[in-house]
Structures are given as structure tokens and as C-alpha cells.
């Protein structure tokens, strides 16, 4: 039976390695789930601080799920009912200038439709779909982050894509 050398992550270098491995995923997960208004960065910090404070009680194989659960709860505590707002990255001014006004209008329209469609997705669909499409994560990686099966991830993402397309075409 393999024995864990470390039965907690109270060691600072272990903690740092753990942070580097999971901080970005946690941040992205929180961002796509709860939006930008609830300061996902702060929640990531708080969750890691909580993990450090409880490092003696959390075995390394439970640390990731402790971290994600803690961060999730912190978010839920803050504003359970707040409407999710994903803030658009300010789109870079297009360097291409030969767009026809008609084309520009259609682009604008499309963006609005996409906004609405994304907002209409279920939370589970949105998180999985955006992690996949925007962060380029593979199903297996998402499954690990969300702690669900790959099959479920597949279902959520495909479902989200289908719904988006229907919505955009219907609008």
C-alpha cells in the first residue's frame, strides 16, 4: 500500500505548489459560475487562507475538493441571489477597417444575441461550456474541476452548444 509521505499540506512549499496547480482553475470556475461582480480573485485568496488554517485537518487528497467547496460556499454566502454578470473583456478596436456598416451592425446584433443566450443557459451548462470553449479545457479536465464524470461534462457542454445555437437562430 503506498504511503503518503505528507499527511497534510501545512508545509509552505507544498502549499505553494498546490496553489500554483489549482489557483487559476479555481478562479476561472468561480468567474464562470458567479461572474465578475463577486470578486472571484478575493474568494480564491480567502479559500486558500482557509485551507492553510485547516491544513492539519485536510489530507492532501481531499485538499482540492475542500478548496473548491470552500470557495463555492464563500461565494454563495456573499450574495446568493445576485444575478450573474459576465463582464465582457473590452474588445480591442478592430484593426480591420474595411468592414461594411452592414457587417458591423450584424456583428453587434450577434454579440447581443450571444449575451442573452449565455445568460439563459443553466449555471451548470454555462460553467462547463465556458471552461471548455474559452479556457480550452478538455472534458476530462473539466470533470476533475467540477468533480463530476466526463460523460456528464460532455452532456452539459453539448447541451449548452445546442441551446445556444437554437437561441441565437431563434432571436
Amino acid at each position: 500500500m503506498p504511503k503518503d509521505l505528507h499527511n497534510n499540506i501545512c508545509d509552505k512549499s507544498l502549499f505553494e505548489a498546490f496553489f500554483k496547480k489549482h489557483a487559476k482553475d479555481l478562479h476561472d470556475f468561480l468567474y464562470y459560475k458567479f461572474g465578475a461582480d463577486l470578486n472571484p480573485k478575493d474568494k480564491v485568496q480567502d479559500a486558500f487562507i482557509k485551507l492553510w488554517q485547516n491544513c492539519g485537518k485536510v489530507p492532501p487528497n481531499k485538499a482540492k475538493s475542500f478548496l473548491f467547496t470552500t470557495a463555492n460556499n464563500l461565494m454563495l454566502n456573499e450574495v446568493a441571489h445576485q444575478k450573474v454578470v459576465l463582464r465582457h473583456q473590452k474588445s480591442q478596436p478592430k484593426s480591420i477597417t474595411h468592414e461594411s456598416p452592414e457587417y458591423a451592425l450584424r456583428e453587434k446584433e450577434f454579440k447581443q444575441k450571444l449575451d442573452t443566450a449565455i445568460a439563459n443557459l443553466t449555471e451548470a451548462q454555462r460553467v462547463a461550456f465556458l471552461l471548455n470553449r474559452v479556457e480550452g479545457k478538455r472534458f476530462k479536465e473539466i470533470a476533475e474541476i467540477l468533480n463530476i464524470s466526463t460523460k456528464a461534462v460532455e452532456k452539459r457542454i453539448y447541451g449548452a452548444l445546442k441551446k445556444l445555437r437554437e437561441d441565437i437562430e431563434g432571436l
Binding site: 478562479h27 476561472d28 464562470y32 485568496q45 450571444l114 470553449r133 474559452v134 460532455e154 453539448y158 452548444l161
Partner: protein, 301 residues
């Protein structure tokens, strides 16, 4: 490979070259690409992992310093409780032990070194249990019989004088103006008026009203009061009456003009029967008595 599988594989970033070609041939390829590209704007803000790590670590450091204060506080509380417990313990253990007997009550006490003290009625003894190993010394008021274990000097302090011994048996009686020490075994030193007198077994040291009275040798192994009998040798009659009052809880009155209270009495009375006791002390002096409840009047003839 059907359309749905291709899309699934595309979503999973898992298309090989052939499949990619097939995927590109799909009629909704453009729409999918457009959708996919449109989503880029939803990208989460840049997350600088090392920067964030530094922030968390610095927060942890401040956390640690506040944590140590939090950890200090309960420690102080525990320390305070311990100090209170310890001082209470210290106070109670260094207190003197005092043993009292009431009228018609006798008691036997073992001191920490197994020396035995028997206290006669209406007497008190004070000693310190903690210091006993260093100094075998006690304060006596009244009368007591000592069986002292061998060891360092054992002293009995009374208001009249100090009795000090090494290991022996002796009786000390200090009542009113009487100071009597009888040695039963070993060697007893009595300091009275800065004068030291050594008593060998059977020797008696008696002071009545400041005057030394010499008695013949004592033959008993222990004082008679231990076996519920008070005995007197050349003791003023007033003290005999006082002892009777101590043993029976009665009050005795007599006319001082008819009966001489300072008359030295030699004799004994029992502690078990008041009538016999009264007869024992009145008949030899040719006295009579009247008894009503707890008060007794002595009469002449």
C-alpha cells in the same frame, strides 16, 4: 463518423487530421466557428498565479502573527487558573492545624511523624502539618499526653513553659495557675522561667501559683485520665473542682470562707459516674454536696 460525434470531438479538442477535414465540411462549420469566436469575449480576466500567491502568502503571514496572539490568550487564561489553584492549595496546606476538645470530650491525634497525642477535655492543640518535618513543635492549651516518635527535638509550647523531648512519653497539664509535666518514658526537658529541668521516667514537674512543688515518683505507665480517671497530687482544690467541671459539664459552687480553695488535694475521680466522682473528692476533705440538675453546691460537714 456522424455530425454529432464530430462536434463532440471538436468540443473536446480531440479531432485528428482526417476528422478535422470532415468537420470543416459540415454545413454548420461556419456558424460553430462564429459562435466559438464570439465567446472569446467572455474570457475570464487574466489570472496572475504568482502574483496572487504572493498576496495569499503575505496575508498568511499577518494571519500567523494574529494567530499567535489568539493562541497566547487561552494560555494566559489557563495560567491564571493554575495560579489561583496553586495559591489556594498553598494557602490551605500551610495553614496551621488546630484541634480542640470540648467539655467531657477526649480525642487522640496522630501527628505526621506518627507521634501520638491524646487531648484531655477542653484543651486545644495547634501545629503545622507542612513544617512538621523541619520542626516538631506545637502549641498546647490544656492537658495532653504525648507519645513522641524518635527523631529531632519535639517541643510543646505552653503559656507557662516549653517542654522539649527527643522521643518519649509524657503528660503536660497547663491549667490556670498550674503547670505540670510528668515523664513516663525517655527524657523530658522542661524550660520554666528560663530554667531547664530534666525529667527522667516517673519524675514530675509541678508549678502551682509560681511555686515548684516536689512530688514522689509516678508509678503509672500513662496518665490516669487516659483511662477515664483524673488523678491529682498536691493540686489546689479549686483546680480539682475545675477539672470535675470539665469532665462532667456541671457547675460547682462553694463558700470560699468555709472551704479553702488553695488546699492541696491528692486523690482521683472517675469520669464515668458523677456521684462516685463527687464522693471521691468530698469525703477525704470531710465535705458534703447538694446536687440539682447541673449545679452542685459543696457544703461543710
Amino acid at each position: 463518423m456522424n455530425r454529432e460525434d464530430l462536434i463532440q470531438k471538436w468540443l473536446d479538442n480531440n479531432l485528428n487530421a482526417n476528422e478535422l477535414e470532415a468537420f470543416k465540411q459540415l454545413e454548420d462549420y461556419d456558424a460553430l466557428m462564429k459562435l466559438s469566436n464570439g465567446l472569446a469575449e467572455f474570457k475570464a480576466p487574466e489570472y496572475n498565479t504568482s502574483e496572487e500567491l504572493d498576496i495569499v502568502l503575505s496575508k498568511l503571514d499577518t494571519e500567523n502573527s494574529t494567530k499567535s496572539i489568539n493562541f497566547f490568550k487561552p494560555l494566559m487564561r489557563i495560567a491564571a487558573v493554575l495560579v489561583i489553584c496553586f495559591s489556594a492549595y498553598y494557602y490551605t496546606t500551610t495553614l496551621d492545624t488546630k484541634i480542640n476538645t470540648d467539655i467531657a470530650q477526649k480525642t487522640s491525634v496522630f501527628l505526621p511523624d506518627q507521634s501520638e497525642v491524646q487531648l484531655n477535655a477542653e484543651s486545644s492543640m495547634t501545629y503545622n502539618e507542612n513544617d512538621w518535618d523541619e520542626e516538631r513543635s506545637l502549641l498546647l492549651e490544656g492537658e495532653a499526653f504525648f507519645k513522641v516518635a524518635k527523631g529531632e527535638t519535639f517541643s510543646v509550647n505552653t503559656s507557662a513553659g516549653i517542654v522539649s523531648v527527643l522521643g518519649t512519653e509524657f503528660n503536660v497539664r497547663q491549667r490556670n495557675n498550674i503547670f505540670e509535666v510528668i515523664c513516663y518514658e525517655g527524657l523530658v526537658a522542661v524550660t520554666y522561667d528560663n530554667e531547664k529541668t530534666k525529667l527522667y521516667p516517673g519524675d514530675t514537674f509541678l508549678i502551682v501559683n509560681g511555686k515548684r512543688i516536689v512530688n514522689e515518683k509516678e508509678n503509672n505507665q500513662q496518665p490516669t485520665w487516659i483511662t477515664n480517671e483524673s488523678s491529682f497530687r498536691s493540686i489546689p482544690f479549686s483546680e480539682v473542682i475545675a477539672e470535675l467541671e470539665r469532665q462532667y459539664d456541671v457547675s460547682v459552687a462553694f463558700d470560699q470562707s468555709l472551704i479553702d480553695a488553695e488546699l492541696l488535694f491528692t486523690g482521683r475521680f472517675t469520669h464515668n459516674n458523677l456521684d462516685i466522682a463527687l464522693k471521691s473528692i468530698t469525703l477525704p476533705l470531710n465535705l458534703g454536696y447538694q446536687k440539682t440538675d447541673n449545679s452542685i453546691i459543696l457544703t461543710r460537714g
